[in-house]
Amino acid sequence: MYELVTGPLAWIAFGIFIIGLLYRLVWYIRGLNWQLDRVTYSENVAYGIKGALRSIFYWLLPFGTHSWRFYPGFTILVFVFHICLLATPVFLTGHNVLLLERWGISLPSLPEGLTDLMTVAVMVAALFIVLRRIALPEVRNLTKPNDFLVLGITVAPFLTGFLAYHQVGGYDFWIVAHVLCGEIMLVAIPFTKLSHFLLFFLSRAQLGMDFGIKRGGMKNKGMAW
């Protein structure tokens, strides 16, 4: 079973993830239209690039924008969640050992105690995100079952990985479940709201170009995000 999920299924999952995102990328860019969007994407290019980069940069910076500063508690949740979510699997000793075994390459690894803590951070942050979703009327009213499902898909690899690492119950069961959950997440990325993995950057760049080219970027220092 372990061979199956880390072998052919892993290839399929990564394949769908990459091809799916490439499709998203091409579809997004091909669907942009200077006249409908009212942004001259291929004119005033320098302003467009500047606007796009500023728009991405300030929003990647914790407390970098008015909005992040307006909601400090949620901002901390969002950044802890996303940083740990992305960094943990990449710099995890276990993953790098596997990479080394299979392909003879590996990335630097973080201490296991730290990645363990980061895994817990993802789960705790997710828990608070769920509580916030239920507690705040303005968020609850927006919430659809899908929002919980997508969060569940995202957290599942961390929960199962955590259980496997600490060998709660049977390691063999949890490790297979962990790999499967990871694959489900990869496959889900192009097809769900998780596509913001890529589309965050595209959408931010687009609005950045809008402000950089048309809405003031040519007349001021750039939008004060």
């Binding site: 004119e43 728009s55 919430t143 929002d147 709201k193 596509s195 048309k214 003031g216 007349k219 004060a224």
Partner: protein, 461 residues
């Protein structure tokens, strides 16, 4: 009844149709016909398939339902944080649903969409600056307005307004003769006090072509005279076009994209005809947004820029003060506490916040910023055409409370509002809530603080 006599999917492009609409006081018959209006779901979906492309669809799809747009919206704040006023909810329940149902929506649904698009969003675009994904619900509601307009679901006043643009190339029934007469009248009337004062019409190759809001010649012609005096004092070589003088676009508020194009092309034609070096637009926010920011796209100009460089009035004033063409007399500066209303259309959506500060630092001794301000300022409460729609007066007045509280917090007694919509909203705010403030455009304040050289002084002084 598929189409009403007054309320239909047809545009208003003849005086007969326009007069019939105008005769229907308050749009009584118009709105009652709207209740029977059929929705052409096929046409609606065909339009959406053609125009609702990756940018809008991605916005709708990736919205994380996080609610960070909630507090950015003045309607949400003014309505006791009603969850139904959260921008994400408003757009998902309208445009989001229309896409989900592939355009198969009924009359009731379209009424709900119309009420949402015009009475719960002023297209101020503030939410766009609070969404981590950069989802601009103002842009989407402007798009929704276009869908509504094409189906005949548009507030009565805006159907009239867009018709005016189609027939008169102006938001009001002002003919070329009316306009030129007003220019001559004002030049003559104020020329007695200001020797040498001119309002040159159709002068070729001037440095500045000045363009206005139709309300000025119609209701406040002294505004035109004040502009003329200030150009005169600054020694500008300027002109107004006899045709193509109107900058505003109720068509933009209505979502009548065809009329938008007709309107801005009339201004661009004046540029081509008179060949001025640049254009200066009067103190109006949406006029500048329509003709300078969005207009080139409606007209299909690939550079995205107007045929000649275009300035908002605050840009011209800031430049005139910077270069010394206009000088402020320090003794005449405004003593009372003053605040400034940043217009969404030329500040958040065109980046002119600094011009306003340059001007205020010169004319006011006690200038107080609203909080938030500049790009993050709240809409006055009357933007997006809302001031002019009788059907939504109650909703508009509730929305005004955010601006009221912002002004009160500054302690200012005078609000400078170089935008017709903001000016109107603040006037109405005072009328409804009586907080004891005055409001003003820049021109009268400049005239009362500017240094007038001896030889130019009014004769009666």
């Amino acid at each position: 009844m598929p189409e009403g006599v007054l309320c239909s999917k047809q545009v208003v492009d003849t005086k007969e149709k326009l007069n019939a609409l105008l005769a229907d006081k308050g749009g009584k018959q118009y709105y009652s016909e709207m209740k029977q209006l059929d929705v052409d779901g096929k046409a609606l979906w065909a339009t959406m398939e053609k125009t609702c492309k990756s940018r809008l669809r991605t916005w709708l799809e990736i919205c994380a339902h996080c609610g960070m747009c909630a507090d950015s919206c003045f309607f949400y704040l003014a309505n006791n944080k009603d969850p139904k006023q959260v921008p994400a909810y408003k757009i998902q329940s309208t445009l989001g649903e229309m896409i989900k149902r592939k355009g198969k929506v009924d009359n009731d649904f379209m009424h709900m969409v119309m009420d949402t698009a015009w009475s719960k969003c002023s297209c101020c675009n503030r939410c766009a600056t609070y969404c981590p994904f950069g989802i601009d619900m103002g842009v989407m509601f402007s798009y929704v307005r276009g869908l509504c307009f094409a189906q005949g679901f548009v507030p009565w006043e805006l159907k009239i307004g867009s018709g005016m643009h189609r027939i008169y190339n102006a938001q009001m029934d002002i003919t070329t003769e009316d306009w030129v007469d007003t220019c001559e009248w004002m030049a003559e009337e104020y020329g007695e006090d200001w020797p040498g004062l001119e309002i040159p019409v159709d002068k070729q190759d001037a440095d500045i072509m000045y363009t206005v809001n139709a309300r000025e010649p119609k209701h406040y012609p002294e505004d035109l005279a004040e502009a003329a005096i200030l150009f005169h004092l600054a020694g500008e070589n300027w002109t107004v076009p006899s045709r193509g003088w109107e900058e505003t676009s109720l068509a933009m508020f209505a979502g009548d994209w065809g009329a938008c194009k007709i309107q801005v092309e009339s201004v661009y034609a004046a540029m081509d005809r008179l060949k001025p070096k640049r254009m200066v637009v009067t103190e109006c926010g949406h006029a500048y947004r329509a003709t300078v920011i969005e207009g080139p796209y409606w007209a299909g100009i690939e550079s995205g820029k107007t045929p000649i460089e275009s300035f908002h009035y605050v840009e011209w004033v800031a430049e005139a003060l910077r270069t010394g063409k206009l000088k402020i007399d320090p003794a005449k500066r405004i003593k009372a506490p003053v605040t400034y209303q940043d217009s969404c259309n030329y500040v958040r959506n065109a980046g002119l916040a600094d011009c306003a500060r340059e001007i205020m630092s010169q004319i006011a001794e006690d200038f107080r910023e609203m909080r938030p301000c500049k790009e993050h300022n709240f809409c006055c409460g009357g933007g997006g055409g809302l001031n002019g729609i009788g059907r939504y007066r109650r909703e508009r007045n509730i929305g005004l409370t955010v601006k009221r509280d912002q002004i009160l917090a500054t302690g200012a007694k005078l609000v400078v509002a170089p935008c017709h919509n903001c000016w109107d909203a603040i006037r109405d705010l005072e009328e409804v809530y009586e907080i004891g403030i005055r409001w003003s455009f820049l021109k009268p304040l400049l005239l009362s603080t500017v240094v007038v050289p001896e030889h130019m002084k009014p004769r009666n002084e």
